[in-house]
C-alpha cells in the first residue's frame, strides 16, 4: 500500500511536467494542425538561453525569465515565418519532416554553442523537499503543478473568451471560413507558435532547475510526451493535462511493479503500449474531437 501510494504520488508530480510540455504541442496543433516534433528542442533552447542570461550576463532571476520568454517569442515567430508558413497546405508528411528537420537544426545549434557536457543551473527556488502528509515531494514538482494549474485556467479562459483565442479555434475549425470572417490566419499561426515556445521555455527552465543541470537529454522529453498528447487527444487542453497525469501514474506503476519482472525499461515503453491500445479503441484520444471518416 505504501509503495502504491508513493508510486501514484510520484506519477502525479511527474505527470504535471508532462502536462506542461504537452500543452506546447496542443496549442500549436489546435490552431494550425501541425504536430511540432521539435518541442523537446524548444525546452532545451529555453533552458540554455535562461542559463546563458543568468550565469554569463549575471542578470537577476526575474528579468532573466522575462528575457528568456521574449527570446522564446521571437524564436517561435521566426520559425513560423521562415519555415512553417511556406508549408501551409503541403501533405502531412512534409510538415512532420520539417519539424523533425528543425529539431536537428536546433539541437546542432545548442551543441555547437554550449557543447554536450551537463551544465549546472543556478536554482530559481530552494530544492528542499516539502513534506506533503507522510510523503516528501520535491519543491520543483509543486511549482510545475502550480504553473500547470495556472496555465490550464489561463488557456481555457483564453480559448473561450478572448478574441485571439476564439480566432484560433475558428482557424482550427476551418481556415477558409476564418479567412472570410476577417481573421488573419497567418497572425494566428504566429501567435500560437510564440505562445507554445514560451510555455516550452518555462517548462525547460523548470525541468533544468529540478535536475540541477541541463544537457541534450532534456530534449528526449519531447518524444516521451507524445503518448500524453495522443492519450488526451491532440486538440484538447484539458485532455493534455489529464493525459499527462494519467501517463505519469501509469509509467510509475508499470515501472514499480513490472520492472523487477522484466529487468528494467518497462517504465519507458509502457506509455507507448498504452498509446497503441488507446488508438485502437479510441482513435482520437480520450478527449480529442472526433472526425468520423470511415474507409
Amino acid at each position: 500500500m505504501e509503495l502504491l501510494l508513493q508510486l501514484v504520488i510520484n506519477g502525479l508530480v511527474v505527470g504535471c511536467i508532462y502536462s506542461l510540455v504537452a500543452l506546447g504541442f496542443v496549442i500549436i496543433y489546435k490552431s494550425s494542425g501541425i504536430l511540432n516534433f521539435a518541442q523537446g528542442e524548444f525546452l532545451l533552447f529555453g533552458a540554455y538561453v535562461f542559463l546563458a542570461i543568468v550565469s554569463q550576463a549575471n542578470v537577476p532571476t526575474v528579468p532573466a525569465l522575462l528575457l528568456t520568454f521574449a527570446f522564446a517569442t521571437f524564436l517561435g515567430l521566426a520559425l513560423e515565418r521562415v519555415v512553417l508558413r511556406p508549408l501551409i497546405g503541403e501533405p502531412i508528411i512534409s510538415v512532420i519532416m520539417v519539424t523533425l528537420g528543425l529539431s536537428s537544426i536546433l539541437r546542432a545549434i545548442v551543441q555547437g554553442i554550449w557543447g554536450t557536457d551537463t551544465r549546472p543551473v543556478p536554482s530559481v527556488f530552494s530544492l528542499e523537499p516539502i513534506q506533503l502528509g507522510p510523503l516528501p515531494v520535491a519543491r520543483g514538482y509543486l511549482y510545475s503543478a502550480a504553473s500547470v494549474a495556472v496555465l490550464l485556467v489561463a488557456l481555457t479562459l483564453f480559448f473561450k473568451y478572448s478574441r485571439p483565442g476564439i480566432a484560433m479555434r475558428a482557424t482550427a475549425a476551418s481556415q477558409q471560413v476564418a479567412l472570410s470572417m476577417g481573421i488573419s490566419v497567418r497572425h494566428i499561426f504566429a501567435l500560437s507558435w510564440s505562445i507554445a515556445a514560451v510555455v516550452s521555455a518555462a517548462g525547460g527552465i523548470l525541468l533544468a532547475t529540478m535536475r540541477g543541470g541541463v544537457d541534450g537529454s532534456l530534449a528526449i522529453l519531447g518524444l516521451k510526451v507524445l503518448p500524453v498528447v495522443i492519450v488526451g487527444g491532440l486538440d484538447s487542453v484539458g485532455g493534455a493535462i489529464l493525459g499527462g497525469l494519467l501517463v505519469g501514474v501509469l509509467e510509475n506503476l508499470a515501472g514499480g511493479y513490472l520492472d523487477p519482472v522484466f529487468g528494467g525499461g518497462v517504465k519507458e515503453v509502457a506509455p507507448f503500449v498504452a498509446l497503441v491500445l488507446i488508438l485502437m479503441i479510441r482513435p482520437y484520444g480520450l478527449f480529442g474531437k472526433v472526425r468520423i471518416e470511415r474507409v
Binding site: 503541403e90 536537428s104 536546433l106 488508438l279
Partner: protein, 346 residues
C-alpha cells in the same frame, strides 16, 4: 541527338524504360557500377555498401509512404527485426540465400502487425502508432536476451553463397548491389501492376479508391508488408556488413534518416529513393572531407563536426521541403528535359 518521346503502342507507353536508348545507358551504368570494387579503397567500399543498403530501405519506405501515403516512423524497428532475424538464423547455420529472404518475411510480418492500426488511423495518428511500434520493438530486442544477445549485442558470421565467402566490404559489394538492383527492378515493376496502382489510388483519395473497388485495408496491409520486406532485407545485409549488432544500431534517428532520404529524393518515385539515399549517405562523408581539409586553418572545426553533421542534415531537409518539395527526382527530370530539348526549349 536527343529529342522528345514518341510512343506508338500502349506497351511502349507502359514500359519500364522510356526508350531503348535509356535501357542501353542503364546497362552501361550498371556495368560501370560493378567496376567500382576494383578501383575503390576499402573505406569507400564501406560507404558504397551502406549506400546500397540505404537505397533498399528507402525504396521500401517510399513504397509505403510515398506511394501508399501511409506515414511510418517505425522503419528502424523493421530494420532491426530483419537484422536480428538474420543474426539468429546465421548463427544457426542457415545460409544467406535463405536467411536474407526470411529476414524480409519476418519483417513483413512485423510490419503487418503494426500496420493494423492503419485500419482506423490516418496521418499524424498513424505516425504516432508506428512510433510506438519503434519503442516496443526496441524494448523487445534489448530484453529478449536468449535470441538477441540483449544490449551486449550479437555477432554474425560472414555470408556464403555457392562456396564463396563475402568476408570483406569488397566482396560484400557483390552481394549488396545485385540485391539492390533486383529489388529496385521489382519496385519499378510493381507500380505497373494492379497492386501498385491500388497503392497509388489509396494515397490520392482513399474513399474514392474504396468506391472504385480497391479493398483499402487489405492493400494498406499489403503495402506495409512489401515495404517492411524491403526494410527487412536491408536489415539483413546491414547485419552481415556490421558483423556485430546491438540495439544501439537502430535508434529513432535511423528512421528519421530514411524519411529524410525519401523527402530529399522525392516522394512517390523509385528514382527519388535511389538519389535521396545516396545523397544522405554521402553527405556526412563530404562534410568529413571538408572539415578535415579545413582543419588546418580552423582547428575548432574538428570539435564542431558532430553538431555540424546534425545541423546540416536538418537544414538540408528544411531547405528541400521549402524550395524543392518534389525532391531530387524532380530536379533530375527538369535537368534532363532541358538537355533533351536543348537548344530549342519550346
Amino acid at each position: 541527338m536527343l529529342s522528345g518521346e514518341f510512343h506508338t503502342t500502349y506497351a511502349g507507353d507502359m514500359g519500364i524504360f522510356e526508350t531503348r536508348r535509356a535501357r542501353r545507358l542503364l546497362a552501361v551504368f550498371i556495368v560501370a557500377v560493378f567496376a567500382v570494387p576494383f578501383v575503390a579503397t576499402s573505406y569507400w567500399l564501406d560507404v558504397a555498401n551502406r549506400a546500397a543498403i540505404a537505397v533498399i530501405a528507402a525504396t521500401g519506405l517510399n513504397i509505403l509512404t510515398g506511394f501508399t501515403g501511409q506515414i511510418s516512423l517505425g522503419n528502424a524497428a523493421f530494420l532491426a527485426v530483419g537484422a536480428y532475424t538474420t543474426a539468429f538464423l546465421a548463427n544457426h547455420g542457415v545460409p544467406f540465400i535463405v536467411a536474407g529472404p526470411a529476414s524480409g518475411a519476418v519483417a513483413a510480418l512485423a510490419g503487418m502487425v503494426f500496420g493494423i492500426p492503419s485500419l482506423r488511423l490516418k496521418g499524424l495518428y498513424l505516425a504516432m502508432a508506428t512510433l510506438a511500434a519503434h519503442f516496443i520493438v526496441e524494448f523487445t530486442i534489448s530484453h529478449w536476451e536468449q535470441v538477441t544477445g540483449g544490449v551486449a549485442g550479437i555477432s554474425i558470421p560472414s555470408p556464403e553463397l555457392f562456396g564463396y565467402a563475402f568476408t570483406d566490404d569488397r566482396r560484400l559489394f557483390f552481394l549488396t548491389v545485385p540485391t539492390c538492383v533486383a529489388l529496385l527492378y521489382f519496385a519499378r515493376n510493381l507500380f505497373r501492376t494492379r497492386v501498385g496502382k491500388a497503392f497509388i489510388a489509396i494515397r490520392d483519395q482513399d474513399i474514392s479508391a474504396e468506391v472504385m473497388g480497391v479493398q483499402v485495408f487489405r492493400y494498406k496491409l499489403l503495402s506495409f508488408a512489401v515495404s517492411s520486406f524491403y526494410i527487412g532485407v536491408a536489415g539483413s545485409l546491414l547485419a552481415y556488413q556490421a558483423r556485430i549488432i546491438t540495439p544501439e544500431n537502430f535508434p529513432l534517428s535511423v528512421a528519421i534518416d530514411f524519411l529524410g532520404m525519401i523527402i530529399i529524393g522525392g516522394l512517390g518515385s523509385v528514382l527519388g529513393s535511389i538519389l535521396g539515399a545516396i545523397f544522405l549517405t554521402l553527405l556526412p562523408e563530404v562534410l568529413r572531407l571538408a572539415t578535415s581539409a579545413l582543419a588546418g586553418s580552423f582547428p575548432q572545426l574538428v570539435q564542431l563536426f558532430s553538431p555540424l553533421k546534425v545541423g546540416v542534415f536538418g537544414l538540408t531537409i528544411v531547405l528541400f521541403l521549402v524550395f524543392e518539395p518534389d525532391g531530387l527526382a524532380d530536379l533530375w527530370r527538369r535537368i534532363r528535359n532541358w538537355f533533351r530539348l536543348y537548344p530549342f526549349s519550346y
